[in-house]
């Protein structure tokens, strides 16, 4: 299977997918957790993860091997497999929240009446199909998603800016510090894109300045998400936590909506294509890890297994997303810290040969 991906495609992933996953339910939770100070913990998480992304990107300039090959050279085959198995489990775990957010978005924005959970099941058919695809496919999908994301996000923001009251952000840091810090810690798991970069290592040709390109792309994507979240808070102010999806509510005050209808919903649908690819990226990464762990290219089985697990979780948390969200906010940051913040810099201590 062709597993080549280009730096440009990685940049698109770090920009568009990174931002898209943070624009579904995260703005509402951030507004609820930190009020008008929501921007600071997000920026903090973004800054830390950007540094980690840089460390992985820069590591690629020192070796052309995959992470698995590096681990194999340094720690042996068994240890490499164990680490990849754990990494795979992390990807599966990190897919839980996006998948359930996607399900809620579908119920909220695609239907007038609350549909059955079964209506969401075709998503898993797509996830199984996309899960077996190669990294080349992942990269090329990002090529297509990037302009869609850019167009939709810019349109959302342009439509929202008229209804925004930027004084809602004042006074700065009105909320209690522990709440703000709490958001910083609990949302650590949402900023874990460096793990994707670990998977991409060795599958792209590093050129001069590529580490900077990737880091800046990630930072730019994060800033786009921060801008969107801030705008959302400025539109709704203290009422922001009551709006379930920023995407479906941020532009409703745009004057033309009353004449031309809910064009923002069409934009949301287009945006959802990007969100779908961003969500299945976790499954694709899981499948990639499992292929290495078992040294067999039974992608369809790994993909089916991942989707079966996610279906089970989706049914378990049906209509009880708040519980899942609380659980995620409560302890997801621990594995996130290990895999997305500690593991990537640790990769630097591995002995490498070009």
């Amino acid at each position: 299977m062709n597993e080549k991906i280009s730096v440009r495609q990685i940049c698109f992933i770090l920009f568009a997918y990174n931002a898209a996953t943070k624009m579904l339910l995260f703005p509402t939770f951030a507004a609820e957790a930190a009020g008008n100070a929501l921007i600071f913990p997000i920026l903090f998480d973004l800054a830390v993860q950007t540094a980690v992304v840089w460390s992985v990107a820069y590591l690629s300039s020192r070796t052309d091997k995959t992470l698995f090959a590096l681990l194999e050279d340094n720690l042996g085959k068994v240890a490499a497999r164990v680490i990849y198995a754990l990494l795979g489990l992390w990807f599966l775990l990190s897919a839980v929240v996006p998948v359930n957010e996607q399900q809620l978005l579908v119920h909220d924005a695609f239907y007038d009446t609350m549909p059955s959970l079964w209506i969401f099941m075709p998503f898993f058919v797509f996830a199984v199909y996309a899960g077996v695809k190669s990294l080349t496919n992942v990269g090329r999908c990002a090529d297509l998603c990037f302009p869609i994301f850019l167009f939709c996000t810019l349109s959302f923001m342009v439509m929202a800016v008229e209804g925004a009251d930027f004084t809602a952000l004042l006074p700065v840091l009105k909320g209690p510090f522990n709440k703000v810090a709490g958001l910083g810690v609990s949302s650590l798991y949402r900023f874990s894109e460096s793990t994707f970069l670990l998977i991409f290592m060795g599958h792209y040709k590093y050129g001069k300045g590529d580490a900077a390109k990737m880091t800046l792309s990630y930072a730019a994507g994060g800033i786009a998400a921060v801008a969107f979240i801030t705008l959302f808070y400025c539109v709704y102010g203290p009422l922001a936590p009551t709006r379930s999806f920023a995407l479906s509510s941020i532009s409703v005050f745009f004057p033309s909506i009353s004449y031309v209808g809910r064009i923002d919903l069409y934009l949301l649908y287009a945006f959802d294509i990007v969100a779908l690819f961003a969500t299945v990226l976790n499954i694709q990464a899981f499948v990639h890890c499992m292929c290495k762990v078992f040294s067999r290219d039974c992608r369809i089985i790994y993909s089916l297994a991942a989707c079966a697990a996610l279906i089970a979780v989706t049914f378990a948390v049906n209509n009880n997303f708040i519980t899942l969200q609380k659980a995620a906010a409560g302890w997801f940051w621990i594995p996130a810290l290990a895999f997305a913040y500690i593991l990537p810099p640790l990769a630097w201590i591995l002995r490498r040969k070009r």
Binding site: Y111, D112, F123, K133, D143, S258, G261, L265, L276
Partner: protein, 477 residues
Amino acid sequence: MNNSLEEKIARVKGELTSEDILVFRFSSLSGRNFACVYTDGIVDKNMIGELIVKPLREVKAEDGADRIKKLLAAPELKDGKDFADVIERISDGDAALFAEGAEEVFILGVKSPPGRAVAEPPTQVTVKGPREGFTEDIKVNLGLVRKRVKSPALQVKTITCGKQSRTAVAICYLEGICKKGLPEKIEKQLKANEIDILADSSYAAGFISQRPRSLFKRNATCEKPDIFCAKLCEGRVGLICDGSPIAITVPYMLVEDFQTAEDYYSVSYRATILRVLRFAAVLLGILLPAFYVCAQLFKIQLIPAKLLFKIASSVAGIPLSPSVEIFFALFVLEVLNEASIRMPKYVGLALSVVGALVLGDTAVKAGIISTPAVIIIAFSAICLYTVPDLVETSATLRLMFLIIAGSVGAFGVILAIAFIMSYLVTEQSYGVPLLSPYAPVIAKDMRDAIYKYDTGALKTRPKALKSPNKVRLKNKR
């Protein structure tokens, strides 16, 4: 072939037993006997008289084969290699000349199959630019190509396909511009298929396609020699099949279908606008019926409020559900479309009146289907025909999306789009990604994709085609 003249003719007639294989016997003034064997209906008999019989009247009894060859005035003159070759040439429309006392058999190209004149193709009509179109005659078609590309780099390799039809297929490419090994690969793939009859170039298209069962085609078709030649000059390989006015070019990129010859003959801004329009029209044509059904069944907010009231008043009292109603309207449209193509022209006119008035107006008045449903299906049909080469695919997609929209709603439609995107990004036509230059992004090739630069700025051949000769234009800009 060292038997007597009569024995040779008997042997040929023993192999070609059909009554339309004629033997024309004649003698020179000195009494030397000759026999010309040919297939009736596809040779020019005047040419036989002028190029063979007249000159050979001078042959003397003792003249050898060299003298006979010298006297023959035919520009296409070959020696028959063996008996099998002679049989094949006669079947193909050439004439075989047997001379008394000579071992050689002369093959003379006097083929003149019935065919129509060069005319403007019905599917690629242009306002500006050349109007010549391919015909069913491979020789005429190759002539039209040669007329435009006079370079010695133009290579034409003719092979025969079809066990019974023995159809000639010309593989055309420009040496040094086309990717090395590509014509050979196509030839190999064509030869790997042994079929009775190669009735049309679409058969060949199926044979050279790496995924013949896919909904998305892997080759471009064209009916105009100017487009064909331009594609050869970009580094593609072209196939011209005898008996088909439609030529095939590979490798293929999906974006090719959104381009027309006229784009290159008009201002680049206008061409860009038209390409965007075609792209938007195809998207709209595929998705509009689906989203109309989604809006009515699952998300009424997708329709502006004022329009919603209009639609509500139109659909009130319609006995069918929105999805069944649209499906019914689409079914009627497809039936009308199919019937109007197959029927004779004068019946077709009556049919369109019946279709438009009886099925359209009356069905709406009777309250069987609503006016918006008719408008949406009609508009969708018009939209799809802005890119005629994609109609087969886009009409199937429209039906597929309609079924998904009626059962799952907008989320199903979005998932299907994502599914198609994921499928298409890694699909290839002879190593060239179908969605190139957008996935993967090839910035230079985007100069002539949906956006079109002026011709002076298109200095390099499409990078995706991996041509060994990259530069196609040198200027000081």
